[in-house]
C-alpha cells in the first residue's frame, strides 16, 4: 500500500500527463500522434485510478484501470481503421486534409 502522503504526488504526475495529452491532441495534426496523445490522457486517468485505489486499499481502482485499458484498445482499434481510410484517400495522415465541414 502506498503512503497516503504520496498520493498527491501521483496525482500531480497524472495531471501533468493528462495536460500533455490534451495539448498533444490540440496541437498535433498527424492523426497517429493525436491517437497517442489520447492514449496518454486515458492512461493518466488510469494512473489516477490505481493511485486512488491503493490509497484506499481497495481493488476497485485496479478494476477501473482494466476497464480503461480495454476502452483504450477498443478505441484505438476503430481509430486505426479510420486512419487507414484516411491514408487511402489522401495518401497522408494529416488531419488538415479534412476541412470540408465548416460553419
Amino acid at each position: 500500500m502506498v503512503d497516503v502522503a504520496l498520493i498527491d504526488h501521483v496525482f500531480i504526475l497524472a495531471a501533468i500527463l493528462f495536460c500533455l495529452g490534451l495539448v498533444g491532441v490540440l496541437v498535433r495534426r498527424n492523426i497517429i500522434f493525436m491517437l497517442i496523445s489520447m492514449e496518454i490522457m486515458l492512461n493518466a486517468a488510469g494512473l489516477a485510478f490505481i493511485a486512488a485505489g491503493s490509497a484506499w486499499g481497495q481493488p476497485d481502482g485496479q478494476v477501473m484501470f482494466l476497464a480503461v485499458v480495454t476502452l483504450g484498445a477498443a478505441e484505438v482499434a476503430v481509430a486505426l481503421g479510420l486512419t487507414l481510410l484516411l491514408f487511402r484517400r489522401y495518401q497522408s495522415v494529416d488531419v488538415d486534409n479534412l476541412k470540408e465541414l465548416r460553419g
Binding site: D3, A5, L6, L66, V69, T70, A73, A74, V76, A77, L80, G81, L84
Partner: protein, 138 residues
Amino acid sequence: MSYGASLITHLWPLVLFLVLVIGLISLMLAGPYFLGSRRNARATGEPYECGIVPVGSAQYHVPIPFYLFAIFFVIFDLEAVFLFAWAVAVRETGWAGFIEALVFIVILLVALLYLWRLGALDWRTFRQKRDRASVLLR
C-alpha cells in the same frame, strides 16, 4: 516519521539505482574511447543490424496487414488480462465465475470467427490473392 523523512526512505534506493545506471553507461561509453583502436573503414559509421547491411530509408510504408495484426493482438491480449484476473480468484468465484468466463471467451471466439470469415486473418496482400486466384483459374 515525518513526511520528508519517509520520502527519503522511499526514494533513496531509486536515487542510488539512477546514479549506478548513469555511472555504468558512462563507463561503457567512455571505455572503448580510451581502450579501442581507431579505424575508419567503409562500414564503420553504419548502424549495426545483426550483420546485415541496412538498405534504404527508414521511412517506408509498413504494409497494411501489419496494422491489422497489431490491432488484433491488442484486443485479444486484453482477453488475457481479464482471464488472468479471473484465474487469480477462480476458487472464490466458483461455478458462476466459470460460466461467466466461458461466456466471455465464447463471445470473443465468435468475434474471431467473424474476423476469419471476413478474410481479415488472410496474411497475403491483395496482389498475392489475385495472383493465386489466377493460378487456380488456369
